[in-house]
Symmetry: C2
Subunit: 190 residues, 2 copies
């Protein structure tokens, strides 16, 4: 018959990420993936353990892409400049790749989590905070706060949580970053 399709875990993962951006992360299906490669479903199971495995791989891909972008954005920046840059990386990535962004939120098992780029994310946020004057434990608190704001804002904005309200969300975003910068420069003692 025809020549082979050239399936690969790599290619399948990338195609899965694109599929996620098109139809949503939780609509990613092994069947649809097979259809796109014009191949029978069972064929994918030589390259993927199962559906969950596919999702995990997409998640890892997204986390890596995000970390790479973040590293890029932080290079040569400090203080509020760095804060804004990092924040925009997350927001822009979510807008450009909603499915991948959702994938990055996928609950990973301990093994996968350890092998993921998740660690780099925390490290970069911590690096950014060196531009502010925080004690060690406060740095951790701040890392978590920033993570929460970035993720929470992006997630609500994309979910339509801010729709139909008066001020532009871009406006709010700017002011929120101003506020965070002010807060970090003036971190309250208990």
């Amino acid at each position: 018959m025809a020549t082979r399709a050239g399936l690969t875990t790599e290619r399948l993962t990338r195609a899965g990420a694109e599929l996620a951006d098109e139809v949503g992360f939780d609509q990613v299906t092994v069947s649809e993936l097979a259809r796109r490669f014009d191949v029978k479903v069972a064929s994918l199971y030589s390259h993927l353990k199962n559906s969950h495995d596919l999702r995990t791989r997409i998640a890892l891909l997204a986390l890596k892409e995000l970390a790479d972008r973040a590293a890029d954005a932080l290079a040569g920046r400090a203080g509020k400049d760095a804060l804004t840059a990092l924040a925009n990386v997350y927001r822009d990535y979510a807008r450009e790749h909603p499915g991948r962004y959702a994938a990055a939120q996928f609950r990973l098992g301990p093994e996968a989590a350890a092998a993921s780029a998740g660690v780099r994310h925390a490290q970069m946020t911590r690096a950014l905070l060196r531009g502010y004057d925080l004690t060690e434990p406060d740095q951790t608190h701040a890392v978590r706060l920033l993570g929460s704001v970035f993720h929470g804002y992006v997630s609500l904005e994309m979910g339509g949580g801010f729709s139909h309200s008066a001020p532009d969300t871009q406006d709010t975003w700017t002011r929120v970053l101003d506020a965070l910068d002010a807060l970090l420069r003036n971190w309250p003692e208990p």
Copy 2:
């Protein structure tokens, strides 16, 4: 045969919410629900339009429960006291009812969204902010910031995003609320 099962959209929705808390919101299935009522699957379709309809109803239920709790918590409180109370409502609800909390994040259509308790949430946050001295547009920015932090924190904490790190997450939560209070009392002008 035996007597009727007494199915109701109401009862199905409540059972669906419990099911969500047990197995996760996205594992909620019409089939499993039927099993729990010891009834054939097709029978549920007289009470539910479809699977999506079920999820929507669970989401509306969760939003209402959350709003009710929030209203309760805010009664008679102001300032930081109110801020803490509201924040804890979200966090505690998510811990007690993870499936419902996930449901509350379910993307609703415009119709359902309008009929939801989502509006009350925004109103209560706005009410809470009256204890601080913010101009009108800044109030909206602050509403969005608080929403982002609450949702983002709870979501990351529950997703295990803060696991294995040194300081206790309760510790961080307290300090984050301190920080937000300080920020709101000292909101920066552009």
